[in-house]
């Protein structure tokens, strides 16, 4: 294969990779397959056989057609993502057109540029780890394509003069006598010239170039200054009927819901010692929905009370809890730090209840006074943070407590807003009795059937919750293509009629059952059941983990002392979490290798997202510049071990090494180990350099004693040494060569200056080897001198 063939193949691969960047966002393989087919066909039909070759005019016309066609798509999209997609598709069309044109340098440049533009457009459309992997591949292929393109251009330029016939003297006499401009003919074969480049050495060069480019790029990337505003983390414009969090619940949805794997956030749960808390099944509450309403279009919805300026509150801290006279956590060690890194900045925040403010909590975080849950105020410039720190006492003894104390400072169940809210949660009047007769009847039957000793709300609640868990009673399904009774309320229809639905139906039904028994309850939406990543020690929360459950209000006197492990229930009461949705078994859960692979993929995505896509100025300063900035900089105000520790800890955490806790945990850094590692590294590097320097200078013939036929004791060892020396200087003896021919050829080919001495050496060899003579001292010295002179010549690859 010639350099041009390799170039064509690489160009197809480059365009294919470019189109894959686009395919990442469209989730369709049409563009890559089209590019692949066009590329392969063009290699044969256009470049090799030259059957189909669009001339420049036709190519331009086709390009104009493609632009007009794409313009229609472009204008039909309302959002920028769609318009970018139209541009990306146009780039694919243009590539396909260029494939079928006669190739020249201009065309090759255009194709390379188009594929690069695809990467640029792809960067605005999809920023997952797959983009990073593709970018690595693309870098390698792009570099090798550019190198091959260079070789192609250079050889084409020089091939014109190769073996060109020198001009014959002009037939016109005066022209011949006056002479013409000098004509040139360069000796050599075009194919030899082209193939001279293609070697393993070239491949090694390309690999080194790629590695070097990656290292440089990494250094450039992490040191290049960033703008303080948030980094672009991908589009959010595409909406699909998928599972996911919503601040209201619509029960009129039809059809099948798709499980969306889109990442929502990653959550680190750390105890006071900085150790992660694994293997929980945490509930992250996002919104409380006490109001069930049917709008003017007849759609049944759960909605929140709503936020207004008057209801915004500072999140509570532990200290404030103490000041209010409530029972604080028995010790600070009970507090768990929640570090949530959200994929996109959103108004809703998701926390384990009860959530408190801590020192690192961002100022944009507020508490919704109507629900007690946290959210963030969206700044006018949209430059909101995505990393949040909270504290919670909702995890005790390695599990999430079912009862979360009410943390709103002014919440009073007997009066004011507290009472009005609980009234909403308790709402069960004549209208409800008409709407939900089946639910009331069923709830009554369940409670009656349990023969409860008292009207203990917790027991009633658990009885009703258990009803949904009883196998055979209900079917959990995301497929809502079921026969519904349009005359019935969807919740009533769910309980009485089809008994098939997802978490929102289960939660709705339980809320209504609790209310039918006079118990205040509300629906809560958020996330549950995230995947714990052992590599990164975090919980990965995806849209498919979106969940709805129920919270029932308990007054202070309805809760026993030991029911709340945290022990901080005040007069505001608490909320009991109930989850009526039957658990669905995850088929992959038991598959260890699949789980491990998923962990790796998630972790790669996390690292990519955190340290490439979302690398912000703040994070950059924390890890790279922090140690060198500020008053406590080691260079500014003496050595600050703490600053260096913090920088080192942050830097290590980039690579998945979490050292110590955030709150004063000790860094597990041993200076002896570090010093030893540094000294060892230096020694290894030094040794490598020494070996590299000595290796070519070692006379291997001295160690040839283990080769009997070439040993030093042989009377012709001097000749063997000569062969070794010549071989290491680029000329091995060929099978058909006699020693004399070999030396003659080597002297000529290597342009050796002391050819006579070597020829005398060979003559001596013949005499010793075949004549049985021995060398005298003078001869031996002359031979030794010739061999020593030869040793001084530089080494080169043997041919």
């Amino acid at each position: 294969m010639t350099a041009q063939h390799w170039l064509q193949i690489h160009l197809v691969a480059l365009c294919l990779l470019g189109s894959l960047f686009v395919a990442l966002s469209t989730r369709s393989l049409t563009a890559p397959l089209g590019v692949l087919a066009a590329g392969v066909l063009s290699i044969w039909f256009t470049d090799t056989w030259k059957w189909v070759q669009l001339n420049r005019m036709l190519g331009n016309l086709a390009a104009i057609g493609a632009v007009l066609f794409s313009l229609r798509d472009f204008l039909s999209y309302r959002n920028s993502e769609g318009q970018l997609l139209a541009i990306a598709t146009l780039l694919v069309y243009l590539q396909v057109i260029l494939f079928f044109q006669e190739k020249n340098a201009r065309l090759y440049w255009q194709m390379i540029l188009l594929s690069l533009l695809q990467v640029v457009v792809g960067a605005a459309l999809h920023l997952g780890v797959a983009f990073g992997v593709l970018l690595l591949l693309y870098t390698g292929v792009a570099i090798s394509t550019l190198v091959l393109f260079f070789i192609h251009r250079e050889t084409e330029r020089h091939t014109e003069l190769l073996n060109a016939p020198l001009p014959v003297a002009s037939a016109i006499p005066w022209k011949r006598l006056l002479g013409q401009s000098p004509a040139v003919r360069v000796e050599g074969q075009a194919e030899q010239l082209k193939s001279a480049f293609l070697s393993w050495a070239l491949l090694r060069q390309i690999v080194l170039l790629m590695v070097g480019a990656l290292l440089f790029s990494a250094a450039f990337f992490y040191t290049a200054p960033r703008h303080p505003s948030a980094m672009w983390s991908g589009p959010r414009g595409f909406t699909r009927p998928e599972t996911g969090f919503s601040r209201s619940v619509d029960l009129q949805q039809m059809g099948e819901l798709l499980q969306s794997d889109e990442e929502v956030m990653r959550v680190h749960l750390l105890n006071a010692a900085g150790k992660p808390l694994p293997q929980l099944d945490p509930y992250f509450a996002g919104e409380a929905l006490p109001i069930y309403e049917i709008d003017e279009r007849g759609r049944a919805k759960w909605v929140s009370i709503g936020m207004s300026g008057g209801f915004l509150r500072e999140p509570q801290s532990f200290e404030q809890q103490r000041e209010r006279g409530l029972r604080p956590p028995s010790s600070p060690a009970d507090a768990i730090t929640i570090h949530a890194s959200m994929k996109h900045a959103s108004e809703s925040l998701f926390t384990i209840t009860p959530a408190y403010r801590e020192a690192s909590t961002d100022e944009v975080v507020r508490m919704d006074a109507s629900t007690g849950l946290l959210f963030q105020v969206i700044r006018p410039d949209g430059n909101n943070p995505t990393d949040f720190y909270f504290a919670t006492t909702g995890i005790v003894g390695g599990r999430q407590t079912p009862i979360a104390p009410e943390v709103r400072p002014n919440f009073d169940p007997q009066e004011g807003r507290g009472k009005r809210e609980l009234d909403l949660c308790r709402q069960w009047g004549r209208r409800q009795q008409i709407l939900f007769p089946g639910i009331q009847k069923l709830a009554d039957e369940i409670v009656a059937s349990r023969n409860l000793p008292s009207r203990d709300p917790i027991l009633i609640a658990h009885s009703l919750e258990e009803h949904f868990h009883t196998p055979g009673n209900y079917t959990y399904s995301l497929n809502l293509k079921i026969q519904r009774d349009p005359e019935r309320d969807p919740i009533e229809d769910f309980v009485v009629n089809h008994r098939t639905g997802h978490c929102q139906y289960f939660a709705s039904a339980l809320v209504m059952m609790l209310r039918s028994q006079g118990l205040p309850a509300r629906m809560v939406v958020g996330y549950r059941g995230s995947e714990y990543n052992k590599l990164g020690s975090y919980y990965m929360v995806r849209q498919r983990n979106a969940h709805a459950w129920v919270e029932m209000y308990l007054e202070q006197d309805q809760i026993s002392e030991d029911a709340v492990a945290g022990g901080i229930v005040g007069k505001g009461g608490a909320w009991l979490r109930l989850d009526p949705t039957p658990s669905s078994d995850d088929p992959n859960a038991s598959n260890n290798w699949a789980s491990a692979a998923r962990d790796w993929l998630d972790y790669a995505d996390t690292v990519w997202g955190d340290y490439v896509v979302s690398l912000s100025q703040k994070r950059q300063e924390e890890a790279l510049y922090g140690a060198f900035q500020g008053d406590d900089s080691p260079t500014a105000a003496g050595f600050s071990w703490a600053t260096w520790q913090e920088s080192f800890r942050t830097l290590a955490s980039w690579f998945g090494v979490h050292i110590g806790g955030k709150e004063g945990g000790k860094i597990g850094f041993d200076w002896r180990a570090a010093l030893t590692a540094m000294v060892l590294s230096a020694l290894v590097m030094l040794l490598a350099r020494v070996v590299r320097w000595f290796w070519p200078r070692i006379d291997w013939s001295q160690f040839a004693f283990w080769r009997p036929e070439r040993g030093r004791r042989s009377p012709v060892a001097f000749y063997n040494r000569l062969e070794d020396l010549l071989a290491s200087r680029g000329r091995r003896r060929r099978p058909a060569e006699t020693p004399q021919e070999y030396v003659d050829h080597a002297v000529r080919e290597l342009s050796l200056l002391h050819g006579d001495a070597l020829r005398s050496l060979v003559a001596a060899f013949y005499r010793v080897r075949f004549g049985g003579d021995a060398l005298d001292n003078t001869e031996a010295q002359a031979i030794e001198k010739a061999l020593t002179d030869l040793e001084r010549l530089p080494l080169r690859d043997a041919r």
Binding site: W109, L113, V119, V120, A123, F131, L135, T139, I143, L146, F150, I151, R153, E154, R157, H158, L161, L166, A169, A171, P173, W174, K175, R176, L177, L178, G179, P182, A183, V184, R185, V186, E187, L193, A196, F197, A201, I206, L209, G212, L214, F216, S217, A218, A219, F220, F221, R226, H227, A230, M231, W232, V612, V613, S614, P696, R729, G730, P794, D797
Partner: protein, 395 residues
Amino acid sequence: MIRRVYLRLEGWYYVFVIVFVIGGAVLRNVNVLVALAGLMAAALILHWQLVLRSLSGIDIIRSLPSRLCAGDPLEVEVTVRHRGHRGSAWALEFTDYFQRVDPPDDDPVSEVKLLFPRVSAGQQLTRRYQCALSRRGVYRFSKAKVASRYPLGLVEGSCFLDMPDRVVVYPAIGRLNRRWSKLIEAEHSGQQSTRHRQGWSEGDFYALREWRNGDSRRWIHWRTSAKLGKLAVRQFEQRRSADVVLLLDLHLPGSASNQDLAMVEAVISFAATVVVELGRHGGASLGLVVASREIGHWFGSASPLFAQELLEHLSVCRASEGVRMFEAVDRLNSMQRGGAKILVLSTRSRDDAAATLDRKTRDSLKWRLLEQAVWLNGSAGELDAYFSLGEALPA
């Protein structure tokens, strides 16, 4: 050695694209574009380094002949040697520059490019090129450039090497025919001539060759002819040599046409051919007077070495409108020995040449001497009778 590295046009386009990507990254806060720009910039910087590495530790050796005849191919051998101990020099482009400097005619600088794909450390690579130089003169190979654009072709590194070389291109050598021999050998009755007899008849036998029209039957070597089945004749050293003095009258009209210029070249080629022929045979004296704006004259024993010296002069002589003819005749007279054959090779007729002189000068004895010489007027086609360059000379 002056070394410089610069961005080529493609390199500037590449930088523009990097700026475009960085612009996108900054304006939209897209980190991935920062990484992409970093990759592109890295490729450019490493490219820069590789170009510099390719040019370091390189020795260039050029070997070429110092003289040749116009029309003969000039063979140049270029060897690139890598002195380093590791790595390779990739895609080295050697550019040779040469120019005809004498006679100075503002000839353009010609260049030849050779590509050395890869020269490994400690090795050398040789490439050759041939160049057809059809104009006589002195060519100067003053400098050479070695450049590398490896591996991406965006950056070019080059260094200029001082490699002075000089090639003298003699006038084209043609063929003198039999009439020329007769002209030289002819016994001009009433004239004195110096003859050096060599041998008893045709001269000393030195080789056999095929029979040609005009060969004497006495020269046929019958035994060899019988063996070969075709006639073979003996060749002899020239039996006799006459002293010859050549006068080149290189007159060029004021508004010279290409035909006129070609005529000058034809006359010089003829003279060069005569010099080579006489030098090859040797044995006699040979004089040359070149009449133009300047007068040049050389005299010596005909030998290959002297012929070479005369060729050097012929390769750089120039024609002129104002030929100092009488001075040339004066030089001719000074070197003319009794009986030497005088040949005037001119671009004009004897009368035209005489017309440039005043009457007194024309009547002088020296001029009369010239009137007795053989005058070959190139413009009248008189050279054709004795000489050919393989084709007809300009009419």
